[in-house]
């Protein structure tokens, strides 16, 4: 009896345990199912079931590759991989660059790659070539909308195509349609540019990264109620920057490591014996072929595209030509590029004029990291450089503009100390509302009879360039605006143009060690212009179209560079100017014994830049658009209104396979802080519903069990 009872007990206990474990198991399975199903159901409405093979899990990736997060947590998509080879050929002042972008599709689906990339702001892009295996397809220049249509048609027909468009003077996009699974397509882009010459230093830059731009204005509503991206970029279009989503490529999280490797090679034919050559930010390997010729390549075979490349070289003393002429004959027209060095001002003693200097410093979030340190250092240098008798003020701007002093104050020691303390406390945060800062710097009522200079330190990461240019133009009066570009990827198009409208100059500071050198060079230079009232005398009756139309003042070490088109080359051109109350002039014979290809393109690029300026100044858009389109098509140039498009003749993608479109991620510029530019969002959900549901089910289960055993016991007794 007793033993039977005990047997019964253990049996029932085992049964009960089994039952609770099974029900517990059942409940958790049910819950797990619910968890899996519910999000699935809620998403099914907005994203119809997609082919699952294009998704990968992190665990399935063996080697380093770029993954894009998808709308499904834990599932990723492989981004097109990009490798860039840059080959630059320098001849005197002219540079011809070939950029080869190799897109590899690592996934199993057909892909469309979209890559946003920067080029130097005076680059004249004139060639596009697409290589598929051994075949080469040459790109053709077309009106922008027409090019878009041609590309879209080829894309839908499954043919390979490449479309190069200009988004800003210095930002381009390359779209490549129908990259097959595992396939590589290489796209070659060529452009022509001129070197920068400052004093006796030649500078060659290749920008490697598009910095995230500050997009002012109100984000415009997207049409769908629930949508992923509006473009391929991360910003929504706003009322002030209509194409925001097109100039803001997705940025790779720094934790993923640097992406998009670049190799670079420069063949330099300086035209004079080279005394020294160095790369400002990347280690290089130099190979001399003759005193005037050299080959330069990057020491590391490939670098990540996260900071600009800059090569600087100097001629042996007194070997720099005082003037140079490059010409090209094309379609019965002669195109010229002329470089003239102003007289050396260093030996002559100048009378130092007192100045009113307004320092404007950008303290927006994009200046975070090393940029704000550089800017502070540069500003401290500048403030220490003030002379007794000078007046000054400091203005900082981010989302708001604030001034240190209500108006300019004398540069006495007390004011200088106060300013230095103020500058030391500056922090980078918030937006880039540059317009109010420009107004604050340029608007002034009291005329102190001083030379008025505005020194503007910024990275220029803004998207509303045009609005700012017109503020500068309309409010400049007798002030001069000098822009100082800070950080690893300043928007040099903005800096150059702003300085041009501001009748000043642009200085770029790439790293903190350069601050003192570059700032002192700037201040030496802006003490006084070396040459003013410049004019050009062409031979009589010559039908000349010359750019720039109005010649700027020249500061010490700055060359005059102009491009011109004229039917015949004969006689000479005379350039006249005033140098410290003295007349100065130089005459250059117009000869055409040596042809330099690319000069025509440079001339056209300058004319396009001029026409774009006219558009900003309010000329009719239709007239300007037609002018630029005709000119760009004649010279085979990519512009705001024309694009290069290359289309394969034979289709390669079977029409029944789908094509997905993916933006190629770009790196954040070196020194930028990821969380300064992108919101770091908190977790915004709790487990409350889960807790309640689970608790509720457990209560029911417990009650049922109690009830069941109570009944059983009643029954048994």
């Amino acid at each position: 009896m007793n033993s039977r009872h005990e047997n019964d007990f253990s049996l029932e206990f085992l049964m009960g345990l089994l039952l609770s474990i099974m029900s517990g198991f059942f409940v958790s399975m049910l819950l797990a199912l619910l968890v899996m199903l519910l999000p699935g159901i809620s998403q099914a409405g907005e994203a119809p079931a997609e082919v699952s093979s294009e998704y990968v899990k992190k665990s399935e990736v063996s080697s380093g590759s770029v993954l894009l997060r998808t709308e499904r947590p834990g599932l990723y998509r492989r981004a097109p991989i990009l490798k860039t080879d840059v080959h630059m050929r320098v001849n005197g002042m002219l540079v011809r660059t070939r950029v080869v972008q190799r897109f590899k599709n690592p996934g199993k689906e057909w892909l469309e790659g979209i890559y946003v990339f920067p080029l130097p702001d005076n680059a004249a892009v004139d060639h596009l070539r697409m290589r598929i295996g051994d075949r080469i397809i040459e790109g053709k220049i077309k009106e922008k909308q027409e090019a878009k249509k041609i590309y879209a048609k080829a894309k839908s027909e499954g043919r390979k195509a490449s479309l190069v468009e200009q988004e800003r003077a210095n930002i381009f996009t390359n779209s490549i349609a129908n990259i097959g699974p595992g396939e590589t397509i290489s796209v070659e882009i060529e452009y022509q540019q001129t070197l920068q010459l400052d004093k006796d230093r030649f500078r060659l830059r290749f920008p490697l990264v598009v910095a995230p731009r500050y997009i002012p204005g109100v984000p415009q509503a997207v049409e769908e109620t629930v949508a992923g991206f509006t473009g391929s970029g991360w910003a929504q279009n706003t009322d002030q920057v209509k194409d925001a989503s097109r100039i803001t490529p997705p940025v790779a999280d720094p934790a993923m490591g640097k992406i998009n490797p670049v190799s670079l090679r420069v063949e330099l034919n300086a035209g004079f014996p080279i005394a020294s050559i160095q790369s400002s930010y990347h280690p290089i390997v130099k190979k001399s072929r003759s005193p005037t010729e050299m080959t330069v390549s990057l020491q590391e075979e490939q670098v990540a595209a996260d900071r600009d490349f800059e090569l600087v070289w100097q001629p042996l003393k007194d070997q720099l030509p005082r003037a140079a002429l490059f010409s090209e004959r094309r379609d019965n027209e002669n195109y010229l590029m002329l470089m003239v060095m102003p007289p050396d001002a260093e030996h002559s003693q100048q009378q130092v004029l007192n100045r009113e200097v307004i320092y404007v410093i950008d303290t927006s979030g994009s200046m975070g990291g090393t940029s704000i340190k550089q800017a502070r250092r540069a500003l401290q240098y500048a403030i220490n450089d003030l002379k007794p008798g000078d007046f000054f003020n400091v203005i900082q701007f981010n989302s708001y503009t604030s001034q240190l002093f209500n108006h300019s104050v004398p540069a006495d020691q007390a004011h200088i100390n106060e300013a230095l303390r103020y500058v030391q406390s500056l922090q980078a945060t918030g937006g880039t509302e540059m317009a109010t800062a420009l107004h604050a710097a340029l608007d002034h009522k009291d005329d102190k009879g001083l030379v008025r200079q505005v020194i503007f330190l910024t990275d220029g990461s803004i998207g509303n360039e045009d609005a700012l240019f017109s503020i500068i133009k309309n409010n400049l009066a007798d002030s001069r605006l000098f822009t100082v570009g800070i950080g690893s990827a300043p928007n040099s198009h903005f800096m150059h143009k702003a300085a041009q409208y501001g009748r000043g100059s642009y200085t770029y500071i790439g790293k903190i060690q350069e601050v003192d050198e570059k700032m002192s060079a700037l201040f030496r230079k802006i003490q006084m212009p070396v040459l003013s009232a410049l004019e050009v005398q062409w031979p009589d009756n010559a039908q000349v179209e010359m750019w720039p139309e109005r010649l700027p003042d020249l500061y010490a070490g700055e060359p005059l560079i102009l491009t011109a088109r004229l039917p015949v080359l004969k006689d000479k051109v005379i350039i006249k100017g005033k140098s410290q109350q003295q007349d100065w002039q130089v005459s250059i014979p117009l000869l055409s014994d040596h042809q330099s290809s690319g000069v025509a393109g440079l001339w056209a690029r300058e004319k396009i830049a001029y026409l774009m300026d006219r558009l900003r100044e309010g000329d009719s858009q239709d007239v300007i658009k037609k002018g630029i389109t005709d000119l760009a098509i004649e010279h085979h140039l990519v512009s705001q209104y024309t694009s290069l498009v290359a289309v394969d003749v034979t289709p390669s993608r079977p029409v029944d396979e789908t094509l997905s479109s993916k933006a190629v991620k770009v790196n954040l510029p070196a020194g930028w802080q990821h969380d300064k530019v992108f919101a770091s969002l908190p977790q915004t959900a709790t487990d409350s519903v889960w807790d309640m549901l689970l608790g509720f089910l457990l209560i029911i289960l417990g009650c049922l069990l109690s009830l069941y055993f109570q009944r059983r016991n009643l029954h048994a007794s």
């Binding site: 009960g16 999000p39 109100v218 509503a221 989302s399 908190p682 915004t684 959900a685 519903v689 048994a716």
Partner: protein, 201 residues
């Protein structure tokens, strides 16, 4: 004797269930009750024009009041979007413009407590924000989007007023976690910048 142990097992499971259930209810209750406490802290903020901590050990303070008439929503927003402050109220992401000030401010809250109403908002719906100076601005919903948390750009303050309400997505997910965010963007419709220091806004 043995029937009692079975009964106890059942009761034990029920008890566990009750603990679990109340944990969930607690989260909801905390979210609701804290708002009551915060309302009085807010009134004090408006009167005294200083930061008022809602309870002595709090590391945050009320910065704005958000009302959405169509959803019968009236809640106080706390400074900072840390996990501890989000348990009590929506949090204003530091570094973005203060709610109701010029610029775009980002406010986030849990999708299953304070911001459960976001799913019911429609384009054109209006909402009002009172800032710590008592000024009220009215906003209109311009867009609703879903983005990966890492791809939500930091709203850069501009001269225009705007608010971004952010919560986790999808709304029906049972467990916390996941990278998707639901973003409601609203821009200023018109403002009555005269301070309203007490009562309904």
């Amino acid at each position: 004797m043995h029937h009692k142990s079975f009964l106890l097992t059942g009761l034990g499971i029920s008890l566990l269930g009750i603990v679990w259930f109340s944990q969930g209810v607690y989260i909801q209750a905390k979210a609701l009750l804290a708002q009551q406490l915060l309302q009085s802290a807010w009134q004090e903020t408006l009167k005294a024009r200083v930061q008022v901590k809602p309870w002595s050990w709090a590391d945050t303070w009320p910065v704005a009041r958000l009302t959405v008439a169509s959803q019968a929503v009236d809640m106080i927003i706390l400074e900072g979007a840390s996990g501890s402050s989000l348990a009590f109220a929506p949090g204003h992401l530091q570094g973005t413009a203060a709610p109701g000030d010029p610029g775009i401010s980002l406010i986030s809250a849990h999708r299953d407590t304070h911001f459960s109403f976001l799913r019911h908002l429609k384009l054109g719906d209006s909402m009002r924000v009172q800032n710590s100076r008592g000024e009220i601005s009215e906003y209109e919903v311009m867009s609703m989007t879903v983005k990966d948390a890492s791809e939500v750009p930091l709203p850069q303050p501009t001269s225009n007023r705007g608010i971004m309400l952010v919560t986790c997505y999808p709304f029906d997910s049972l467990r916390a976690g996941g990278n998707l965010r639901y973003i409601v963007y609203a821009t200023e419709k018109d403002s009555d910048l005269r301070p309203v220091l007490s009562g309904d806004i």
